[in-house]
Amino acid sequence: MESVIVSSDFQSKIDQDANIEPKDSMPDAYREHLIRQISQHAHSEVIGMQPEGNWITRAPSLRAKQILLAKIQDEGGHGLYLYSAAETLGISRDEMIRQLHSGKAKYSNIFNYPALTWADIGAIGWLVDGAAIVNQVSLQRTSYGPYARAMVRICKEESFHQRQGYEIMTKMMNGTEAQKQMAQDAMNRWWWPSLMMFGPHDSDSPHSGNAFTWKIKRKSNDELRQKFIDKTVQQAEVIGLTIPDPELRWNETKQMYDHGEINWEEFKRVINGNGPCNRQRMEHHMHVHAEGAWVREAAEAYAKQQH
């Protein structure tokens, strides 16, 4: 599609808070940054189905099973919104999947941790989706139109995810001693990886400079992390869960929580492929992708036959 109206200079558009659309001219580095970020985001949604999918057959009630299925279905849908947004930048879905399989493209570190008990499903919805929401709400104002619109749609759908997780945690905290312990154990294992989801400290964040100039990112990793902590502590307290951070305390002057240091060694170890489930997640994705090849081939063969 050609444009009738000549586009004004890229950066001046950004500076006026105008969105960039697929056919607008944009610097190659902007395009590449977006492809990297949006495809990573898409891969995260899709890989994120695995730890939860693990619990569909073991959900404790029909109600819980229906909810979990609906949530996982949403994650698949979110992955598709995002792949489509990335495709408007000129990369094919095949190429994105190749990059995922070769390790060139990443997905969120958080999904390299296992979902060991039913309480983990609660913790994932409440904490992991909760952290994702904080990030995604801010991305609704990202400068690339198709990405921003995908985020608006996703945020609207995510709030049920967080609430169903928090409901699971609430129920377990109102249950037996063993259930309470299970909930606290899940909290202990998911809290720190959830904080790591926001990425390295601002002082140590390799891609941030341009991302701010181009308004791809609107808030820094540390700002978003702080926002998540500040809203989550109260939610934990209300249902009697303890945040596993002895240094966590309210800072009256700053009007926010101070928290302990994140274990960045663990972060690096997991991101470099040595988390508890990295291999399993990738092997599963490759296996299912290869196993589904005949379906795509059959669909194409059938379509050809119709013409």
Partner: protein
């Protein structure tokens, strides 16, 4: 012989970043004319910040008679909405 040129569907983006929504259609000989015509016909009062035009022959539409079959199954899945969940008293920002 039809002398009225091809039909194009017009989508207008109201403000920067928003969704492109269907406004109507125009006749035009090529993509440039379709954009021009769309601008003249659908954005005389500043309705748009950007326009898409797509040859109508490429639009595939569902049959409204199939609406029940397509959309009914979503009705009973009320647990897809956040209001389905009862939050404990005092919990904030959730």
């Amino acid at each position: 012989m039809d002398t009225q040129l091809d039909l194009w569907e017009v989508f207008i983006q109201g403000k920067s970043g928003g969704n492109y929504t269907h406004a109507g259609s125009v006749h035009a000989a090529d993509s440039n004319m379709a954009l021009q015509n769309a601008r003249d016909i659908y954005t005389r009062r500043n309705e748009g910040s950007s326009i898409w035009v797509i040859p109508s022959k490429y639009v595939v539409a569902s049959n409204p008679e199939d609406a029940d079959m397509l959309f009914d199954p979503a009705n009973e899945k009320i647990y897809r909405h956040p209001t389905f969940y009862v939050m404990p008293e005092g919990a904030k920002q959730i």
